[in-house]
Assembly symmetry: C2
Homo-oligomer: 277 residues x 2
């Protein structure tokens, strides 16, 4: 395999040598943001939306991106050209920089990595997952920070409960999974998704755009009690698109998995990412 490259600040370096000094505020203080998008057949999917969110997250954490959208786009194109991976995930990370005192923000460090996708994107939902709920609210959920302390820490808890991922709730209100948004279809056929204390995913946004052609949609608080009567439930992310949920806290969800709404939405997403520009 030819050398793969990573972009660090102002140069492309071999991916296995891409590094940050130990004084970086991500290493010292967990301070940074990122975004992640796919390329399919070399096309960067929903790049404008991901750039919007990247700048939004940076702004929220008071990190200077230090490049225009056009410059970032050119860097990403340069990375794709060097690496020649047509179906990939590209991650842009922006950190608090090399801090003189280990606490104050410095000039941000920018790292852009690319790697091949694990598997193909398909029109059918081939898998389903089991979730376990956990009382937690991410700090600053509206920004895509690098804070996944709780999500990673809960991995053994998730396994012990026979689950694949966790679903956060606080005060009886559901928010999100660590790397995914949450949707359910109610007993009276309404597609609902939490509106507050979440990271607003790009896949979530696309679903909210296309879904009203097929189903009534509500963005609102979702009570944990609504899980029991849900006809369908799924999580969404850039990597997974729609991933149907078969069980939450050991209770089965719906009659068939995937249900009709999940399946229809996944087909729409498939068409959006594979056919559209």
């Amino acid at each position: 395999m030819s050398t793969q490259y990573t972009f660090v600040n102002d140069e492309f370096v071999p991916a296995d040598q891409a590094s940050l000094l130990a004084s970086d505020l991500s290493i010292q203080r967990g301070y940074g943001i990122f975004d992640f998008f796919k390329t399919l057949g070399g096309r960067a999917i929903f790049l404008d939306d991901h750039l919007d969110r990247f700048f939004h997250s940076a702004n929220h954490l008071r990190l200077e991106v230090g490049r225009t959208r056009e410059e970032l786009t050119a860097i990403i194109a340069g990375l794709q050209q060097r690496n020649a991976i047509s179906d990939s995930g590209i991650r842009m990370t922006l950190t608090g920089g090399y801090s003189a005192d280990g606490y104050s923000l410095a000039k941000s460090n920018l790292v852009i990595t690319q790697r091949a996708l694990d598997g193909p994107i398909t029109m059918e939902c081939h898998e389903s997952i089991r979730l376990v709920t956990y009382p937690h609210s991410r700090q600053m959920p509206e920004a895509k920070t690098i804070d996944y302390l709780m999500g990673i820490w809960l991995q053994p808890y998730i396994r012990q409960h026979g689950a694949n991922d966790v679903l956060y709730h606080q005060g009886g209100v559901i928010s999100e999974s660590p790397r995914s948004n949450f949707f359910l279809v109610t007993a009276d056929d309404i597609l609902v998704t939490p509106a507050q204390n979440i990271l607003k995913g790009i896949t979530r946004m696309k679903i909210l755009e296309v879904a009203p052609a097929f189903v009534r949609v509500e963005e609102r608080d979702v009570a944990i009690e609504e899980l029991r009567s849900a006809k369908e439930a799924f999580i969404t992310s850039t990597t997974k698109h729609i991933l149907p949920i078969s069980q939450i806290d050991g209770h089965p969800i719906g009659q068939t998995v995937p249900g009709p709404v999940s399946q229809w939405l996944n087909e729409q997403l498939f068409q959006l990412v594979t056919l559209n520009k």
Copy 2:
């Protein structure tokens, strides 16, 4: 100045070249722990206590230190010998490692840095600070994680309120400052400090050991209303020892700053760190 060194995993490298690969889980996901202690005249102060807490934090986050206490102690001695900084701060950072999938824990990375202290340790409290309260509870406060997202993010808020640092509370109960423990002396001369949802500082522990010779002490929940009637208040940390508080949310604390309890305790700490082994 001669080259300063940092220890990274299994070697001493020049401090300005000490780095971690971008795949490290601290950079990717903010996952790591650390500890920090002083050396004075070349003696590592309360090293056993800091090693205890370092192993406790690592264990809590399921990170393997990969070295015994004796090995760590030898590495620290080697770093001190190379750098020859008699009065210094030494920071040991342990991260989630170079993760293949950017989420699962890998072999931990260990970084140990040393740098000169900013100023001398003194027997008198020369400074005092102003705090502003903020509703927040750190996730996993009992472990010394690298999660300082909120503390750093609040720096402009702190400045806008004419303060030097923030004091967290949740549901009317005070916990801690981002890098310090909190104490107050009540109107009836009891030294109180929060007992829950805090990182148990080494300086805090030393104060709880020596204070009963001078004042009645209680570890318990501290209500935010108690701030108004406090005779004295101070924060404690390895760097600052005791730092008296002159104002909280714009309201003055006590008659004279530092008050007699703060001053007596600071003298005791000074003696502990300068005279004892």
